[in-house]
Amino acid sequence: MDKPEDLLLDVQHLHTGFRLGDAFYDAVDDVSITLRKDEILAIVGESGSGKSTLATSIIGLHDMRNTKVTGDILYNNLNLVGLNETLFDRIRGKDIGMIFQDPLAALNPLMRIGEQIEETLVYHTKMNKEERDKRVLELLSQVGIPNPKRTARSYPHELSGGMRQRIVIAIAIACKPPIIIADEPTTALDVTIQAQILDLLEDIQREMHSGIILITHDLGVVAETADRVAVMYAGQIVESGTVMDVFKHPTHPYTRSLLRSMPQAESDDDELHVIQGVVPSLKNMQMKGCRFAPRIPWIPASAHEEHPTMHEVAPDHFVQCTCYKDFYFPDDDQAAEKGE
């Protein structure tokens, strides 16, 4: 499983800081992830956790005048951090495909669907017009568009939300990129359409053996589709591991709290679990210590590490900070036992 040739992307100690006033504030703070061939890695977190910033850092879409990216993003012996634009243009779209949340905003309203897909092929391949047309139709049928010929000639507004997202996926996979980044690909869609799009992503992954980074806030989507998952909070990864490990044995207080605040079927008249406080904004982020500590104030400060590191609690299952050892929910019976 851990063969080096399977490793597609190796992100090490990535920091992405945005300029606010005179200083830079890290929206992504010391994040390390790896993406292997043939897997779906989910990055899950609430708004403001830095999950989308991580994605845009990998594909290099930041406005570099106001952004500072440090660390390493290694792809094919190439460091994407600080790579010059000319080289990056050759990678973007060809080696890394990106699927955005809002398909209507991602598509050009004045261009026919066919042309938009063709655009990538013109830029990255040496295909002639005939080959490109053929490939466009091939792609459209691959993403499950019922009438490819007609759809290729239509405009984005003529299609439904689910169909538009399929087009965006078709553009992302046009050059058969080994890496696909999907940023909340189903958030704007209805549940039945969501299920279809997730199935499609899995099919594509199986067919092309690519690695997919799936960014989402929906724990259900993660549990149903991903192989591995990284939970992000306030710019850092607080827990990572296989989906089985993380969902069956959630360990970090944040992961446990999140899973508990989901409306569950059986707990009908109970109150839902509420995580105290709010996600800190970029400016108010505390730079030292465990960032989740202010939201679990009943855990003594001594339980946290001064400089939180990742601890391997099970093979390939990592948790940040030591506070997980002493963590309990105050409304549990356990709380009474602990005497406080």
Binding site: A195, D199, G220, H273
Partner: protein, 317 residues
Amino acid sequence: MAMIEVRNLKIHYPIRSGFFNRVTDHVLAVDGIDFDIEQGETYGLIGESGSGKSTTGKAIVGLEPVTSGSIMYKGQDITKRSVRKHMQYNKDVQMIFQDSLSSLNPRKRIEDIIAEPIRNFQNLTKDEERHRVQELLDIVGMPSDALYKYPHEFSGGQRQRIGVARAMATNPKLIVADEPVSALDLSVQAQVLNFMKRIQEEYNISYLFISHDLGVVKHMCKKMAIMHRGRFVEIGTREDIYNHPQHIYTKRLLSAIPDVNPDDREKNKEHRREVERIFKEEESKYYSKEGRVLNLQKISDTHSVALPDSTMKGVHD
């Protein structure tokens, strides 16, 4: 008698086209629905985008002209504007919107936002008014210094709570909540839902809870309706809908919800594909030739489903 009785409600929009811009057809946004909302209960309205659930909600608040049918409240049909005005209907029925940023005026302070409905319906002095606003902020758990702030100074969850406080200002009997937590993060969503439940218990308010999220509706509502193409495909109690769904559309919707337990994912996927296949095969049976949802048939005291006649016998276990 139920508090609100909706009978054969229809809302149609004209489609105009051609040389004289004549009405050539109608969009049947809501096409004949019946339901009751009881005092102090939460009625769930579930549907995908375009199913007509928001239109129904707006019609109940009086924001949407009704084509035909009636909405009875205290023995009067409030689909007429004059009736609504005469009985001060909107004092009793308020609304919470999905997008809290666009439903709060960015140029008004929280005090003025929350006081607006009070000023519309009650004659209070400045002090009484401030006292009332403070009380309302208390109910939704906001600090009193929020009075002088503007909407942009709050987070999404806080703004949604301000929306709840505003809806509460006139002591309403019914609050129509249109996707109140869809834009919120999981942990904040839990907070707002808890508040809504607590307020309901304390003040005996009814909710019409409109949502596409089946998990949230299951948590909030005891009775619900599944809406599709402007009509109800299935109505019943939580138990009826989630444990004994009968209509193919309901089954399909339920099978599409992702489960947080990764153990069952292969099984779920299998089940979903199976339901999808049956849906494709049998769709025509459950809808009329024009694609209209069939009439509801009663299969138990609480449970009605839009089933074709032939499948009527022995469906309920």
